[in-house]
């Protein structure tokens, strides 16, 4: 009984010391509170994968009523900002100087060939930004279809295709990229606070020799770890709550699953992140190496390989294989489903189980690593 009391007193004392260290260091507060707020604002207002306006230089070599009407259809589209030019050479200069993203060229035989049954228009895109080029390619189909349909009513063409695709976007009817960015944001913020911040914590104690000073006290390795976990866990949860509130009140992302499951999932993922941070820190014992490793092992995968920004389905098999060992992947799938699809049993329990197993394995490994070095 006495043992237990002493144990908890030691943990409490160490936790208090660690907490004070966090509160007094402006950089911890910056990463715990300023960073989540900054990310929320960036993702909320800065980053958008949604529709953008593309500026296009128009070269009308036909100069007919038909070509003018087609250009008019482009002008009406909200996605295009047109700049009229007189020649292809002039348009090329604009493109080379990055004044426009692409060129719409209507050849001189456009009107004649249109009345003969089939005409071409040429779209030139700048492939250095392949994504924007693709967007532009896809958008240009719109005005052309509108114009063709208008001509159909006038009797010179047939209506758009016999088969019409009517698509419905489940879980995100508004087609708003915030819907899938917010769940990913939570994972990203927890990764940074959990792994990145704590990666340096134990390494610093090794570098400064304060850990060796602790060896001569009755403190046990497990107690030491618990006292490291508690304050950073608290800091991570502050970040989580900030993201949660922003998701609800700022971005109005619906939460279709249960809130308690979402909290549970986030807590378990936070434990995984903390586990990685502390394990790396314990193993390399150097702040520089630990911080670089944490960046390489946690932050970048969470950003690029988790399905947050880039879809896993579009990755080659080998890379997809790698993502299976990355905890962020499971966390993003779990949170996206909980947020947007609801409590889908098969997805939720599988990912939750994987994360729990990872958390347990990491904590055990950290604990073992710590024991080995102290004795």
């Amino acid at each position: 009984m006495k043992d237990w009391q002493a144990k908890w007193r030691r943990i409490w004392a160490l936790t208090r010391k660690e907490t004070r260290q966090i509160v007094r260091d402006p950089s911890s507060i910056a990463i715990g509170i300023v960073f989540p707020v900054m990310m929320i604002l960036l993702f909320g207002f800065g980053l958008s994968l949604d529709i953008t306006t593309v500026s296009v230089a128009v070269v009308d070599e036909d100069v007919s009523t038909d070509s003018a009407a087609l250009i008019g259809a482009f002008r009406l589209s909200p996605y295009f900002k047109l700049t009229a030019t007189r020649s292809m050479a002039e348009a090329t200069v604009l493109m080379l100087n990055r004044n426009v993203d692409g060129i719409l060229q209507i050849p001189s035989d456009f009107s004649r060939r249109w009345h003969a049954g089939a005409a071409d228009v040429q779209i030139l895109v700048d492939g250095t930004d392949s994504n924007q080029a693709r967007i532009m390619q896809a958008y240009s189909a719109g005005p052309v279809a509108i114009w063709t349909a208008a001509q159909a009513q006038a009797g010179t063409s047939i209506a758009a295709g016999p088969v019409i695709v009517e698509s419905r976007l489940w879980f995100n009817a508004a087609n708003d990229s915030h819907y899938f960015l917010v769940p990913g944001l939570i994972v990203l913020v927890m990764t940074i606070i959990g792994a990145f911040l704590t990666a340096m914590v134990v390494a610093r104690e090794w570098e400064r020799g304060t850990l060796e000073a602790l060896f001569v006290t009755p403190m046990q390795p497990g107690e030491f770890l618990v006292s490291k976990f508690i304050p950073y866990f608290g800091l991570g949860m502050i970040g989580f709550v900030l993201c949660l509130l922003a998701g609800k009140f700022l971005f109005h992302v619906p939460l279709r699953g249960s809130l308690s499951l979402l909290c549970l999932a986030s807590m378990i993922y936070l434990l995984v992140a903390l586990g990685i941070g502390l394990l790396v820190s314990t193993l390399v014992k150097s702040q520089f190496l630990a911080s670089q490793l944490a960046m390489l092992l946690t932050f970048l995968p969470a950003m690029m390989l988790s399905g947050f920004l880039y879809d896993l389905r579009s990755m080659p098999v080998v890379i997809r294989g790698i993502t299976h060992v990355l905890p962020a992947r499971y966390a993003v799938a779990l949170l996206q489903t909980l947020y947007l699809a609801g409590n889908v049993g098969s997805v939720v329990w599988f990912n939750l189980a994987v994360l729990t197993a990872m958390a347990a394995a990491l904590i055990l490994a950290t604990r073992r690593a710590t024991v080995k070095q102290i004795t």
């Binding site: 049954g117 040429q122 889908v344």
Partner: protein, 372 residues
Amino acid sequence: MLSSLLRILALIRKEFLAVLKDPRSRFIIFLPPMLQSLIFGYAASFDLNSVAYAVYDQDHSAASTALLSRLDGSGVFERQADLGRAKDIDTWIDSGRALLVIQIDQNFERNLLAGSAAPLEVIADGRNSNTAGTALGYLNSVVESFNGDWRSSHGQQGASIQIVTRSWYNPNLDSRWTMIPSLIGTLTMMGTMMLTALSVAREREQGTFDQLLVTPFRPFEIMVGKAVPNMVIGLGQSTTVLLIAQFWFRIPFAGSFVVLYAGLTLFLMAAVGLGLFVSSIAKTMQQAMLYAFILVMPFALLSGLTTPFSSMPDILQTVMIINPLRYALDLTKRVYLEGAGFANLFADFLPLLIIGLVTLSGAAWLFKRRLN
């Protein structure tokens, strides 16, 4: 003058030794850019290679079978299941096993033959709306070509416009061609800025910085001694990515190496300047690391790497005038893919030069102030 130069050279040598002597630290400087450019080269793509879909065909007609086999033959669409009842649609979408479920109603062929519109109902998993949008785009183009063939084989002729797209500098619109040259700047910036910020903070934490201060070194010399080795290491990181781009991914290099390295040198001046700036504020390594991270994050996210720069709000576009990475991305991509020369890139060189000069002199000023 000469003694000043000798002092700087000695410091540069010491700085190289401090970073490169430890094999673990050599490893951590050059391995991440290599690994990252390989992984991101394959992973960071908005293109879809395969779209898993399920179909609920209530028509089972020749027309519906023809449309579906055209999908299966596209090389992108992979049919996972033929559903027997509407209830199954939920299960397939919810569990994420199918990205799209295509529902063909029982009048599909009859409508087509009658010449009226035949709707094809498609349900897409919007958990990642970007992916769903791309998949729907692919579906539309397959349906479009089906329509074209149907029209010509059933005599429903009419005038049509064909859009011919030609893409400059990246003929197949391969997103990897955009991504990898962008990584030259991005990975280098992350590496160099943190390395610089940490190198000063480490000396400060271990107390060797104080020792440096009692030597005849002037603050300016200390700063140059810190800046030059980190810039060289940064150029080494850029070269690593560049080599991977050319020899692994085989993306043709259209420009001149002189222009590229001139741009990268200016860019690294700015990155190192920012790193020194951070390190003059930070007291510990943890602070240096976290501040550098908080600074580099918005720069990386708002550089146009992941989302187009022009789709950001105007105010952010204005604020990002100070973002060196933004100019570096434009510069590396254009030199690499377009073969742009100094004349076309003036708009990138000038801001980089200004940012570099401002941050370096700002850092020098802060260094000096700390000493006094």
